[in-house]
């Protein structure tokens, strides 16, 4: 049997091509932060398995607009899995059943007749703006508290002047893939932002450029994280499992190590 015959055989067999899926969606609708929201049931028909999850929501929204209803608000931007804007709870899992962003989740992960619950990230530091869109500026404030390096602007320095061991640069890059989508907070039973903060602390703390502010960074970022009202980390691992970039629990251990060392060295948060 040849490959071509195999391919031909399977394409004849595959019944997926002719029709789409019919789905029942239960979506969190909330007009604005001041009112109470509730789950509302919608039906969508003829959904192609090749659509992304957000495209499926686009289909629903077109339907709602045609009916004169208010479309479902959800955040999105690049739809390439790199910006971190999109993200909803899908059947109780952050970004749904695949370890990816909501925009890169495709409807082939579901089957005809499925009921899908869609909710916003739930954490008091992430208040709902409308429906599925939440305000994630708390993350920006954590970054402002220390997720940066202070370098004078000007000509880029000669790259070979600062050698970085391969092992460190790999680990720093792994942590730097964090797109700040908030899935870690959403999935955490404590609504902790520890994995996010740990990714930033790891990413900068492993590189030579991050050393001068290393102690202050971790102390200030944790202080801000607590101030924003995130929960504490209990090392359960839901965050890492939900993370579309697969940031590991190792980063959290590294943050803890840095923080305890910084406190011993006398570093204290700015205020």
């Amino acid at each position: 049997m040849t490959l071509t015959q195999d391919g031909a055989h399977s394409s004849v067999d595959a019944p997926a091509q002719k029709r789409g899926m019919n789905l029942t969606l239960r979506i969190w609708r909330q007009k604005d932060p001041s009112v109470k929201g509730k789950m509302v049931t919608y039906k969508v028909t003829d959904i192609s398995p090749d659509m992304s999850f957000l495209e499926m929501l686009d289909v629903l929204n077109e339907q709602l607009i045609m009916q004169g209803d208010d479309p479902v608000a959800f955040d999105h931007d690049c739809r390439e899995g790199i910006c971190g804007m999109c993200g909803v709870m899908i059947n109780g899992e952050a970004h749904g059943p695949q370890q990816t962003t909501t925009c890169q989740l495709h409807m082939r992960s579901f089957k005809d007749g499925d009921k899908i619950d869609i909710e916003p990230w739930r954490a008091s530091p992430f208040p709902v703006i409308k429906d599925l869109a939440v305000d994630r500026r708390a993350f920006d404030r954590i970054i402002q508290a220390g997720g940066y390096i202070s370098v004078p602007t000007g000509t880029a320095p000669e790259a070979h002047a600062t050698p970085v061991p391969k092992k460190d640069s790999d680990a720093a890059f792994d942590a730097a893939t964090c797109i700040g989508c908030g899935a870690c907070v959403a999935a955490c039973p404590n609504a902790s932002s520890m994995l996010f903060t740990a990714a930033k602390v790891t990413h900068l703390g492993l590189l030579p450029q991050g050393q001068p502010e290393r102690d202050d960074r971790v102390v200030n970022m944790i202080a801000q994280q607590d101030l924003e009202g995130f929960g504490g980390c209990t090392n359960i691992g839901e965050c890492s499992h939900a993370c579309p970039k697969g940031i590991s629990m190792e980063t959290i251990s590294r943050l803890n190590h840095d923080l305890l060392g910084a406190l011993r060295a006398g570093a204290r948060p700015k205020s």
Binding site: M89, R122, Q225, G231, G232, C233, N235, S253, L260
Partner: protein, 220 residues
């Protein structure tokens, strides 16, 4: 602020937890003395009260251990309650649908399991150390109190449930403490978790041995 941040509280939990685990190892070893008979068990119990004599008077060593443990328990509970409340505040409104993908069963029992274990410890001290709730009363020997207590299936059942909860508490706690104190990494993760599981299992079985031996009249 610096000393009250969530990571510092976790470190307090980890260190106080380690102190209690070290005590538990000594405790389980002592328990197994019950298999050496009444005399050996009672004299071991007497020795605990006179360790360090005559360099230090009376029960000095025992009281130092008791005070350290009490401080550890209070610190552990303070940090736990504080973090529990912080987590509650962080998600006042739960999900309609929530799946847990990575959470171990042990990690789910940490908070209520901890409360039950604390309640058990209070009963356990009233029962076997002070004897106030023991059938043999407070003026009996430790061995008699042990036998009287665990001959009652209800007491043995409460003991067993608490010790199993304690085992699960340690299974997650040892891993969590390693993370909290910044001693874990990707390479060590599996080893730490296997050690936590193995240690918790051995300790739990060690604790279960004596009460069930009493219940089934192997010790009487």
């Amino acid at each position: 602020m610096a000393k009250t941040n969530s990571v510092f509280k976790k470190a307090v939990m980890a260190v106080s937890g380690i102190i209690m685990v070290l005590y538990l190892i000594a405790h389980v070893v002592g328990n197994l003395k019950a298999f050496s008979g009444r005399e050996a068990f009672n004299s071991y119990s007497g020795w605990i009260r006179t360790v360090g004599n005559p360099a230090v008077p009376g029960e000095t060593t025992l009281w130092i251990i008791r005070i350290v443990l009490l401080v550890a328990v209070v610190a552990h509970v303070w940090a736990a309650v504080s973090l529990w409340r912080q987590a509650k505040r962080a998600r006042p409104e739960g999900y309609v649908t929530k799946k847990s993908a990575a959470q171990s069963y042990a990690s789910r029992t940490m908070r209520w399991g901890g409360v039950i274990v604390l309640a058990f410890i209070i009963f356990h001290i009233l029962d076997l150390t002070l004897g106030t709730v023991n059938a043999e009363g407070f003026d009996s020997t430790p061995y008699d109190r042990l036998v009287a207590s665990f001959s009652n299936p209800v007491v043995t059942a409460f003991y067993a449930i608490s010790v199993i909860l304690l085992g699960m508490h340690l299974r997650h706690g040892i891993w969590s403490a390693t993370q909290t104190l910044g001693q874990s990494n990707r390479r060590r993760e599996t080893t730490v978790n296997l050690f936590a599981l193995g240690f918790a299992t051995v300790l739990t079985l060690g604790f279960l041995l004596v009460p069930f031996s009493v219940l089934f009249n192997i010790i009487d």
